[in-house]
């Protein structure tokens, strides 16, 4: 009874979040809607007993991906009203996409095409079920070891690509080199002079490093 109610709550939250993303005039509202959708999706996962996936969604999507979106939205200066102009041109593509997804969803809800009627294996439910992470680890590092590694490699390639595309060596800025600063000796950093009273230090005392004490 209570799980049913929670399911209603979470799915309503996802729908509301999705609606905000789609119709929100302000892109910041859209990001907030996306957050709402992610959090509620994670709630649904936890409700299904997949608490590891649920928390991972919060950590990865909410904690990292959406922060990046927010960052970009905050720092770029785009006239979103101008972007909205001519939206009718994209209408056919949009209708096609939404229609396709809706068809898929309706078919999935009908159930006969996706074998949704098959119950979960009984040993995966109840108190004797292994912990989520244990079960995941057992298949991830044995049965799916190669796909797992390949997925990791894909991410690495994406990262290297992103850095390779955007990185440019800059010579116009001053960078701090901690090692150099720490290794600096007293003789390189200061010059002791012994000027006569009323005369002041000789004017070019900072030029030569090897100036001896009292040298003029």
């Amino acid at each position: 009874m209570i799980p049913d109610l929670l399911f209603l709550l979470f799915s309503a939250g996802i729908l509301a979040g999705g609606a905000l993303v789609a119709v929100g005039k302000n892109p910041m509202v859209g990001i907030l809607g996306m957050l709402l959708a992610f959090l509620n999706a994670s709630g649904l996962f936890i409700l299904l007993g997949a608490e590891f996936l649920g928390l991972l969604i919060i950590m990865v999507y909410v904690g990292a991906v959406a922060v990046m979106f927010l960052f970009v939205l905050m720092t770029i200066d785009i006239d979103f009203a101008a972007l909205r102009e001519g939206w009718a041109n994209y209408l056919p593509v949009g209708v096609l996409t939404v229609g396709g997804l809706a068809t898929l969803l309706i078919l999935a809800v009908q159930g006969q095409n996706f074998n949704l009627g098959t119950p979960v294996a009984p040993e995966l439910l109840g108190a004797e079920a292994p912990q989520n992470i244990v079960a995941l680890g057992q298949v991830l590092f044995t049965q799916y070891a190669v796909p797992f590694q390949v997925a990791g490699l894909l991410l690495l390639v994406a990262m290297v690509g992103a850095i390779g595309l955007t990185h440019r060596p800059r010579t116009d800025i001053k960078r701090q080199d901690v090692g150099q600063q720490v290794n600096r000796k007293r003789t390189e950093a200061m010059v002791l002079t012994n000027p006569k009273t009323g005369q002041g230090a000789f004017p070019d005392h900072w030029v030569g490093k090897g100036v001896k004490k009292g040298q003029k």
């Binding site: 910041m28 928390l55 919060i58 904690g63 960052f71 989520n132 992470i133």
Partner: protein, 350 residues
């Protein structure tokens, strides 16, 4: 729709469900209220320690030893005028402080305080298997409030503060996560109670000392505390993301930051300092209930945070980023690999 909801409401309104609801709410209040009071006392603690470090007295007029000063501050904040900037996005401007405050408090759902005196039951609202992951997930939510506050204020200093804060919290979360993973390897569990119980013989800060030091520094950055308090650097950004906030809006940011400090200190204590376990499992130490040991250790970490604030100057932004990405990330990754190898060869400490 309405019929369905009424049906649900009728089915839910049973004595058992009512009792369950009451117990849950009572459990939540039993942890949230002490945390909030602890937060209030932490501001007193910080001002007192800083005062002594500056050869001053700190707060001393309101109540004995100035103990009631935090409550006086709270009353002052609540009775001040709530000021909304004209060009601000009102909805997000109001929402942002709550988005800082709520996640900070949420983490306490999984923090175990040790066996209750006289009963022996574990004092925790939800003893879930993925407690560590839950804390990391929830603590990553706090950054949104700060980012939104900076953006919604529509003012340049809050905006700069928010951008800094976002980058900083995301950067240090990475090394924080890697260090936590190495501790999970040592304990062989993600359950916080199990992690503490694995430290029965040896507190993890001894075998994992480098990780402990890195963790302590990372939580300073994660909580936006000195010497990494760049988001609110008052000398350069006025007050960073909360420049435009007044009254309880500011109060909520304040609450969120200090509760996050306590949360992170408690997390450190659970991961490295043996939680509620006494230093030696012999007679005079075991007389003191575990929760007092826990509170004492949390106070120790909090003292460290205040001590650092009173001692060190603020880092520059590029120094902060270099420390996070070029020093802590490789070091914590190397430590994780090392721990994994050692655990594989000799087994974990559980």
């Amino acid at each position: 729709m309405i019929e369905i909801l009424t049906l649900y409401a009728q089915a839910l309104a049973t004595p058992e469900n009512g009792w369950w609801l009451f117990l849950t709410l009572a459990g939540i209040l039993a942890i949230a209220i002490p945390v909030l009071i602890g937060m209030a006392m932490l501001t007193w603690f910080e001002r007192k320690i800083l005062g002594w470090m500056h050869l001053r007295h700190g707060p001393m007029y309101v109540g004995p030893f100035g103990l009631l000063q935090p409550f006086a501050d709270a009353i002052k904040l609540m009775t001040k005028e709530l000021f909304l900037p004209a060009k601000a996005n009102t909805l997000m401007f109001v929402l942002a402080p709550m988005m800082v405050f709520v996640p900070a408090l949420l983490a306490w759902a999984v923090i175990p305080l040790g066996p209750a005196p006289y009963f022996g039951t574990n004092m925790v609202v939800a003893d879930i298997n993925l407690g560590v992951l839950y804390i990391l997930a929830v603590s990553s939510l706090g950054v949104y409030g700060i980012l939104l506050a900076g953006w919604a204020s529509n003012s340049k200093y809050p905006f700069l503060g928010a951008v800094r804060s976002g980058a900083q919290m995301v950067s240090y979360e990475v090394s924080l996560g890697l260090i936590v993973l190495s501790v999970i390897l040592l304990a062989g569990s993600m359950n916080l109670t199990a992690i503490v119980n694995a430290q029965q013989g040896l507190w993890f800060f001894i075998p994992a000392f480098p990780a402990f030091v890195m963790f302590l520094i990372s939580i300073l950055a994660e909580c936006n505390r000195h010497p990494f308090d760049l988001p609110e650097a008052e000398a350069e950004l006025v007050a960073g993301y909360n420049t435009e906030y007044s009254s309880m809006g500011f109060g909520m940011f304040f609450l969120g930051e200090y509760i996050a400090m306590i949360t992170m200190s408690a997390f450190t204590v659970l991961l490295f300092l043996g939680g509620w376990l006494p230093p030696l499992n012999i007679a005079p130490f075991t007389y003191i209930p575990g929760v007092f040991w826990f509170a004492g250790k949390v106070l120790l970490i909090l003292f460290f945070m205040v001590w650092v604030r009173g001692t060190l100057p603020r880092y520059r932004y590029d120094q902060l980023m270099r420390l996070g990405w070029k020093v802590f990330l490789p070091l914590s990754l190397a430590w994780l690999v090392l721990t994994a190898v050692v655990v594989k060869v000799w087994g974990n400490l559980a």
